[in-house]
């Protein structure tokens, strides 16, 4: 399996696949739950339940990423992954701050995009970093 022109080790392949699947579940769940929230008027307890459901796959994903980082022998790769995740986190914070000011007065209806932004930015940053260092 190749990623950005780079041959991945079995450990990296396995980790990438598992983390990718978990991220996919997180995003799909977030989209579905947001759609339900937008269409139905739910009680506060149901909203809490949905919030718990939305974060359920996030926590195992964080553990999976931590386990991958602990086991990654290639320290440069580990460095790149951490840097990329920081980019993702940074942009999520920026986007969240901007939207918290804009959303109440705009008709954008952005909803919860934090996880999607994080996944897209972190994986793009990792690809760019690997591509720059071909």
């Amino acid at each position: 399996m190749r990623f950005c022109g780079r041959q991945l080790s079995t450990y990296q392949q396995r980790s990438l696949r598992t983390i990718g699947i978990m991220m996919g579940i997180c995003i799909a769940l977030s989209i579905i739950l947001q759609a339900i929230l937008a269409r139905h008027s739910l009680s506060i307890s149901l909203r809490y339940g949905m919030a718990l459901l939305a974060i359920a796959p996030v926590i195992p994903t964080i553990f999976l990423i931590a386990r991958y980082l602990r086991g990654e022998k290639d320290e440069y790769m580990r460095n790149l992954v951490v840097e990329s995740m920081l980019w993702g986190l940074g942009l999520v914070l920026v986007a969240d701050t901007v939207f918290s000011y804009v959303e109440p007065v705009s008709s954008l209806g952005i909803g919860s995009i934090s996880l999607d932004v994080f996944v897209v930015v972190a994986s793009t940053a990792l690809e760019i970093k690997l591509w720059r260092n071909q």
Partner: protein, 68 residues
């Protein structure tokens, strides 16, 4: 930090991929070290020194030290 990795590798006619394989790291890691974008950890520096049968100091040098 400066290093002589590219020279040592060229002396042995190893490609970056060859060296990466011997050290069990990615080729990008070797490239990043050679170009000075990444300073390896002490364990990796020891592995490099052992592989090239030399000392860490003969591969890596502190820029401040070499400038003076």
């Amino acid at each position: 930090m400066k290093n002589r990795l590219r020279v040592l590798r060229a002396e042995r006619q190893w490609s970056q991929a060859d060296l990466a394989q011997k050290l069990d790291v990615s080729r990008q890691s070797i490239n990043a070290i050679e170009t000075g974008r990444f300073d390896p950890s002490l364990p990796l520096a020891f592995r490099l020194a052992r592989l090239f049968e030399t000392t860490i100091e003969s591969i890596f040098s502190d820029e401040i030290e070499s400038d003076s």
